[in-house]
């Protein structure tokens, strides 16, 4: 990468936004996190671009009760990628500007139905695909998402043999030994 390229200089100057949020009370994360407030410094994107991308992620993969902090991880990834890739940076900036322009103002200010319609109108564009593919990769692969979906993640590394691999009790247990097998000898 040529660090002196015009677009690199431009986004270094124009970036450095900060994305901020507050964990929802009662969220399992609020119990774990040292503070309910979080702030994500941005390297390539400004505040408006960061906020717009976060909401775009929410439109693409809308999990109403999934904390903004999970979506912020996607913005963090997009921002880090954009800081390394001037082409992607341009794509994201122009994409956000395009959404705003098509909205006759800030896309963020539209109601939910109109926001969705504007996103549907750009489906398949490089901007849309860049955000969608990053979202689907990052949003579902972090501890915030794992807690939300009820997935064990790395907690399963030691195995579930003595920790609930067969704790489903709303159906009958399959018979031994023809269907299921015995617990291994300790």
């Amino acid at each position: 990468m040529n660090v002196s390229s015009p677009s690199r200089r431009r986004f270094l100057k124009q970036g450095s936004g900060v994305l901020m949020g507050t964990l929802v009370l009662g969220s399992p994360l609020a119990l774990l996190a040292p503070s309910r407030s979080w702030a994500l410094p941005l390297a390539a994107l400004d505040d408006h671009q960061g906020r717009t991308l976060l909401q775009l992620c929410r439109v693409l993969y809308p999990h109403a009760k999934l904390d903004d902090a999970a979506y912020a991880l996607v913005v963090k990834q997009l921002d880090a990628d954009a800081a390394r890739d001037a082409g992607l940076s341009d794509t994201l900036r122009q994409g956000v500007a395009g959404l705003d322009k098509a909205s006759g103002g800030a896309w963020l200010e539209l109601d939910a139905g109109r926001r969705l319609a504007r996103v549907e109108a750009i489906e398949g564009t490089p901007f849309f695909e860049a955000v969608r593919s990053t979202t689907v990769t990052v949003l579902y692969n972090n501890d915030i998402a794992f807690a939300y979906f009820g997935y064990g993640g790395a907690k399963g590394d030691g195995g579930y043999l003595y920790r609930g691999f067969n704790d489903l009790h709303w159906l009958p247990d399959p018979p031994l030994p023809d269907a299921s097998g015995p617990m291994p000898p300790a």
Binding site: Y61, T137, N141, G159, F165, N166, L168, P174, P185
Partner: protein, 528 residues
């Protein structure tokens, strides 16, 4: 000395060694079997060494650690060409090959499936053929493979205890009237044996088994072969071509190391086990003035009849939690549909096997490319989902084939493989039937909703160098020995004449054991 250190090394001009290309289920097993007979073997593996301590629970990190992600291209009407145009197959580039990633289902091909052409009759648009071997002669070799791999419910070993995902499958299967539902035959230790512990129900079978309870050549065949003093493992080397001498016999293998340096290892015999995409690619890359269509390709069959099983998944959502991710990925199987019964509207059969993906891979594979409220709403029920994979016999077709894509080159400047696949009407009819039965099974177990998930990048790759009685019909004979070049062998799933319904690994291992006996006998008789 560590378990992966070479006790013995061989000079590059040592032409008495057998060179085995690939260290997975086929290559790793063949190499160890030869080494145990005192035959000197050099194993060339494109991937690096990753041991169980290195494995990841993060699905994407594990994918990038273990998978073959070098570019390939795709064409044809299969949905993979649209969803994953550069990732036709989900197979591995690591010491141990795809035996590191496989789920462990170890099922024998049924006798009638070995006789597909005579049992099913002619099917328009297919190259159906009987395997050139008697199913009965496979039986003792299957027993040896099951013994080696510790397959449950053989040799007195118990079945694995069923997890939550299996409980749902079993409840639905019995309500539907299915009779053959169990935790199956798995090459996963149900009790400690062979110096490895029993399954800890971790649920990361696809990411590599931390406890080495699942059989993989990585921690069985390869260290055993190395310990014999008759095997040398060279990892991180990409084979570029197989050379032959003036008599048309394979004579050396040229490979490229990490630094880009080329090496030439002489050989008495060469066995190729690079999986059904890389094996034909290498034979085609090895074209010479004598063999201008590629090695072992006088029939024009190299690369043809690529098979990947007819697959799909069904996920059911239930009112109560399931937590399908806890425990073995392939925790149970229904075998009632693996018969040949043309009244269902297709030839051949299929298996129904539990599957589970973490949220990361559900995001990627549940409905590739999809977005919006419907997609997100389905994933919201992750903890209440049960999952099954449908896997059945697909038809061998001449046009489903691996070719060299001369427009796209790999890191070494070699043309990449293009994978072309069109579903045959038989494949489509079988998939539809399997989807319907899978949905019915989960509804019988009380599912509120069910979802159909399209095929993942191919994990089962077969054909492309198939065995045939007549040299004109295939690439190798009943022992995997190429029809054209007697000291050139195919040692992986590329040999398969037809795909059958069963997960292929047990048969790949069985054929490798059998091939080792044959190669040893041929060498003793000085035929090669």
């Amino acid at each position: 000395m560590g378990m992966y250190d070479n006790r013995k090394t061989f000079a590059s001009d040592d032409d008495h060694v057998v060179v085995v290309i690939g260290s997975g289920a086929g290559g790793g097993t063949l190499a160890n079997e030869l080494a145990q007979k005192g035959i000197d073997v050099v194993v060339l593996e494109a991937g690096d060494l990753h041991t169980p301590a290195d494995f990841h629970t993060d699905e994407w990190a594990a994918f990038h650690q273990l998978s073959w992600t070098d570019q390939r291209t795709t064409s044809g009407s299969w949905r993979i060409a649209k969803d994953f145009p550069h990732l036709p197959a989900w197979i591995c580039k690591t010491v141990g090959g795809t035996s590191v990633h496989w789920a462990g289902a170890a099922l024998r091909i049924q006798p009638h499936e070995f006789r597909a052409r005579s049992h099913y009759g002619a099917i328009v648009g297919t190259q159906l053929l009987d395997w050139p071997l008697d199913p009965d002669e496979m039986t003792p070799y299957y027993e040896r493979a099951e013994s080696k791999m510790g397959v449950t419910r053989t040799h007195g070993w118990p079945g694995l205890p069923g997890n939550n995902n299996f409980k749902v499958m079993y409840a639905g299967a019995t309500k539907l009237g299915y009779k053959a539902c169990s935790t199956g035959h798995m090459a996963i230790n149900s009790i400690a044996r062979d110096g490895r512990t029993h399954c800890m129900q971790r649920g990361f079978c696809f990411q590599g088994c931390r406890f080495s309870a699942k059989w993989s050549t990585l921690y069985t065949e390869i260290p055993k072969g190395l310990a014999s003093g008759h095997m040398e493992l060279r990892s991180g080397v990409q084979v570029a071509r197989i050379e032959h001498d003036a008599r048309g016999r394979a004579s050396a293998v040229v490979y490229i190391d990490k630094q880009g340096r080329r090496h030439r290892q002489k050989a008495r015999a060469v066995a190729v086990a690079g999986n059904s995409i890389e094996t034909p690619r290498l034979l085609l890359l090895s074209a010479s003035p004598t063999f201008d269509a590629g090695l072992a390709n006088s029939s024009g069959q190299v690369g043809r009849n690529y098979m990947r099983h007819t697959t799909g998944s069904v996920f059911g959502v239930f009112e109560q939690p399931v937590h399908m991710f806890r425990g073995t990925t392939m925790a149970g199987i229904v075998r009632d549909e693996d018969r040949h019964d043309p009244s269902r509207g297709f030839a051949g059969g299929y298996e129904m096997e539990t599957i589970s993906l973490g949220p990361a891979f559900m995001g990627a594979f549940f409905d590739p490319g999809a977005w919006g409220a419907k997609f997100a709403g389905a994933l919201d029920h992750y903890a209440h989902m049960a999952g099954m994979w449908l896997v059945g016999e697909d038809m061998p077709q001449a046009g489903n084939r691996i070719t060299l894509n001369h427009d796209v080159k790999d890191a070494h400047g070699l043309p990449v493989a293009n994978v072309h696949y069109d579903d045959h009407p038989n494949d489509a009819a079988m998939r539809e039937h399997a989807f319907r039965q899978g949905e019915a099974l989960y509804k019988a177990a009380g599912a509120v909703r069910t979802y159909r998930t399209p095929p993942y990048p191919s994990t089962h790759n077969m054909g492309t160098c198939r065995m045939s009685a007549k040299p004109a019909d295939g690439v190798c004979n009943r022992h995997g020995q190429s029809h054209d070049i007697p000291n050139l062998f195919i040692a992986d799933g590329s040999q398969f004449t037809t795909s059958a319904a069963e997960n292929p690994t047990l048969t790949i291992v069985t054929l490798a054991i059998r091939q080792a006996d044959y190669i040893a006998a041929q060498m003793k008789a000085r035929a090669i």
